[in-house]
Symmetry: D2
Subunit: 351 residues, 4 copies
Amino acid sequence: MGGLLGVAVLGAGHMGADHVRRLDRGVSGARVVSVADPDTDRAKEATAGIDDVRVYPEPEAALDAPGVQAVLVASPGPAHEDALLAAFARGLPVLCEKPLVPDAAGALRVVEAEARLGRRLAQVGFMRRYDAEYMRLRSLLGSGRLGRPLMLHCTHRNVSSPPHFTTDMLIDSSVSHEIDAARWLLGQELTAVSVLCPRPSRNASEDLLDPQFVVFETSGGALVDVEVFVNSGFGYQVRCEAVCENGSARIGDGHTMVVTTGGTAHQEVAQDYLVRFADAYDREVQAWVDATRQGRVAGPSVWDGYAASAVAEAGVRARRDGVRQTVDLAPRPGLYADDDGHLGAVARTLA
Amino acid sequence: MGGLLGVAVLGAGHMGADHVRRLDRGVSGARVVSVADPDTDRAKEATAGIDDVRVYPEPEAALDAPGVQAVLVASPGPAHEDALLAAFARGLPVLCEKPLVPDAAGALRVVEAEARLGRRLAQVGFMRRYDAEYMRLRSLLGSGRLGRPLMLHCTHRNVSSPPHFTTDMLIDSSVSHEIDAARWLLGQELTAVSVLCPRPSRNASEDLLDPQFVVFETSGGALVDVEVFVNSGFGYQVRCEAVCENGSARIGDGHTMVVTTGGTAHQEVAQDYLVRFADAYDREVQAWVDATRQGRVAGPSVWDGYAASAVAEAGVRARRDGVRQTVDLAPRPGLYADDDGHLGAVARTLA
Amino acid sequence: MGGLLGVAVLGAGHMGADHVRRLDRGVSGARVVSVADPDTDRAKEATAGIDDVRVYPEPEAALDAPGVQAVLVASPGPAHEDALLAAFARGLPVLCEKPLVPDAAGALRVVEAEARLGRRLAQVGFMRRYDAEYMRLRSLLGSGRLGRPLMLHCTHRNVSSPPHFTTDMLIDSSVSHEIDAARWLLGQELTAVSVLCPRPSRNASEDLLDPQFVVFETSGGALVDVEVFVNSGFGYQVRCEAVCENGSARIGDGHTMVVTTGGTAHQEVAQDYLVRFADAYDREVQAWVDATRQGRVAGPSVWDGYAASAVAEAGVRARRDGVRQTVDLAPRPGLYADDDGHLGAVARTLA
Amino acid sequence: MGGLLGVAVLGAGHMGADHVRRLDRGVSGARVVSVADPDTDRAKEATAGIDDVRVYPEPEAALDAPGVQAVLVASPGPAHEDALLAAFARGLPVLCEKPLVPDAAGALRVVEAEARLGRRLAQVGFMRRYDAEYMRLRSLLGSGRLGRPLMLHCTHRNVSSPPHFTTDMLIDSSVSHEIDAARWLLGQELTAVSVLCPRPSRNASEDLLDPQFVVFETSGGALVDVEVFVNSGFGYQVRCEAVCENGSARIGDGHTMVVTTGGTAHQEVAQDYLVRFADAYDREVQAWVDATRQGRVAGPSVWDGYAASAVAEAGVRARRDGVRQTVDLAPRPGLYADDDGHLGAVARTLA
């Protein structure tokens, strides 16, 4: 497929607007060509600054807009089934935010519809499968190095829940992430479930049973327990410890996986700067592209480059001669007096 | 500026090829329109699969190619000065890999040339300023919460150095990153430098003084010490501890900043899933866009969506009824028997 | 009570012999005056080198030996009830290794016997209540700073279980530690219990259901879940995370308690050297007393003291004069050529 | 040597009083028979409750008291030389707090005096050699597993310094610990030293150069750098990272040594409960001995033992039957209503 992928986005709420921004400025290879939302004002707001994008109140109109090659569904859950079927009818690939469909019966109808098509068009937005830590954990489990998984201990904590949040939603909205993650990490189906509720936290709204403790059994004889606590107050914490026959591995503390085997706990240490600083390189170049498109220059200046060279040269002399060297900089041209990337901001604060 | 930013890339070696890929598929808003490298074969290899890109042996030709709006310089350091001056002559914004120019005198000529232009066109590729940990550390120092910085303790370790690496390069190539980072973190110039060398590691090649220990003094009365060890064998480790009047902050261990003040060591805990999983969302949508452009479907399937709904429904029943519930899934259609994102790979390994 | 406490130890197996050593050389204020074990040979072995100690095959004889003022019960569990009642009959204070009595009915008989006495004589050996981390965690919970506890997540892993270990013993021998710890940490009784068993690890002996997952409910509406895994292969790991209304606290990773509240994870940092090095001071003085009683001298020598002074003096000069100073030591007398605490051992290895 | 070691303690200040307590109640095998301090009142206070101890204003009198077999010197540094020579004259083994003698010339006189005796009598109180972390680090370095040590990076921070603390004392009192530790860890002498001082912290008293940065060179070609910061405000932190040819090892963060080799960072995981809970066992038995000598009973009661058995029995039933079991406790006798070790304290706080 030549050129950029033309995407119709259904829904321009919190999540939809974020995906519009992401397709436009966060990832490469795509462009937003149409957005549907009953509230066309917020759809227009979400697409401000994007060229050649059309806004519609109706999903079907957005799907039929010229240039649409794929669909991203970010409308409310109850609208997903119709949106998916409409995409299938048009043969359009679709990325559908979770839940696929809120109820299992509706989800099964979508499965059957796609099965009738005889080819896959849809992907569900379980984004943990794309998280670096989860990917590392799955890779480790899949390698067989730790032996068969016996238990997953999961923690899912939010700072606080929105007003409308219900007791059921702790499971069908929050724990649904662990449900998919467990199936994906273990390669097994979940076959039974038990739930225990401690006396609720006083920080939860009245009538909300929060936290809950959920234990799943799997087709491979493993257990998966989940603490879900949506009014923890102390942070957004998503952790998972896989306990296997020959070791355990834990993710979710400080963005590093800790593996424990035979008497030691290990943390991987990066071996290469392109790994350690991969995000920094991306962020650097993206910032430069963005600033340049807006006619701005920011970031480290040539003065910074010169200063680094001058200091390094003094360092080399100090090493060679074995004595302390002072650094003598040329006078700084006014052009660099207060550039964005330079010393001003910190120095002023600390003065 | 409408449309995508047209970029000329000078140099198609390791770093240049990586930037070509990044501009094409890693960041949004830009396209590679020309690449210059004396070795046009490797330039062609680097640009394989990119539409409408031209390859030249000479930098000037690449700068003059139609559609060039900006320049990324990734050629060897000795070629930087000419490349920067050529970009300045054409009024082109430029992102120049470090070092700006290998020697301070040459770097100063570039400073003077840009100062004569009277406006900034160039940014130097000190990518640590875009690393999430360094940004957090600078933000913390800039906030003044820890008081005035007194010392930076820095570690810069590589697994091994390439064959051509010299004793001087430990400072002017490796430590140059710490030089810029220290200036940027502290908002101060480095004014003097001392270097001590222990007896070299047996893992360093003959005649290479590795490791070295460098101590800088700054215009604000702080000290910056750097262990540089390019044949450590044990990892690529970049760490920095800022010791201030009222606390210390350390980055580089496990991708989390540890702040110590008044009797406790703190680690920030994310407060929001869009923060914690920002990278996962980007990676998810990028993977979907890439697959879709190639006519493929991957990632979580609608069967995964259905299974999650069915399990969640059983979970809600288990919570309501207070007893264990089994999960009954419909038969899985053959379409999902061995899809990429599903259970097969792990299950097969663990069977 | 003047003089040393005279203690009868019942049982000279693994645990009993360790307690004999501890009373003799590990703690102050006590002396072992009698030991009972059916295997008098191993009782004699356990008491080798202790003056004035008597060995008996029968517990009663050990209790009636001259000078007995207290009893430590380390015999097998089934013998505990008789031992406790015999101590009660003699009015002797007693420290009884866990379990008090293996079955609840027998334990209740001991409770009733002591209640009839009308005063407490017995203490049970739940030693976690004396572990520094558990004490810190209880102190934190008792302070109310984190609000009401909602859940305790516990891990109890052994490297491997002894041959005779049974499926029941995972709970009544291993989890019994968590049972007491949970009651003590929460100040609540445990009121119900559920157990789930994953398919056993291949590293467990045939017929042993290992690991198990146990969930307790408490009188205060909290939940306590315990992973017990006695053939984990990877370590002896005892961890506990208390999840409260306003924060969580975790012990068991690296001997430090991590507390998470409002957006940060904290670790306590010692404020005083007597806290940080308390164990070192005890160990130092104990080592000196032990060596001196044996007519030996070990540890840092006066040569070490001199060398430290000489280097420190050079350091003070270096600071005052602002230049590097060399250190000139006097010739080392032969007396210190190869003393125990000195440089020899490491230097030889590294030569 | 039969019986307890009779010790004379010279000095009853902060450190001396602590050692008196330690010899009497913290370690086994010794008893305090005499204490000397010009301030006999504080000497009496330090020895309150100890039987048969004599107090003198003069050191010599304390050394000559009946039953003295060894000496612990905890008087001010300037008094050490005379005390050591007096002990040597009497052939008494001596443990001398650091510094051996404040100035190198005096320390050398002590060395020469002991060398003339022809046998070692004195040990210097460098207690870090007895710290578990330092012992682990030395053992690791001595094993040769990490190759030759190249650098030690040391941190020595206090919360605040006492009023009389001088700029010189940062080195000759504080860094003297690192001086000995470095000599002991490396098995090498320190041969040269350089000192750099950043602009002092505002939290240091006027005229105090705090922090300082000290770099030592060693006879084996290693470097040892020390940040000493006695008014850090944020904690008592003593850390040491040994950087070797094949890996690094760091102690001082959270009481665990972290070893980094070939791509992973490791932490040791205990393999045995007697290792993990060694201190808890000692503390438990010491607490029991102390309480018993005072006619008290504390710690876990037989009620606690009964409750544990009853819960464990329910747990075993729950596992066998596969369903949740409630726990039914007998009524609690009044004797255990509010015993020290029980639930009261925490429960009341949390009510």
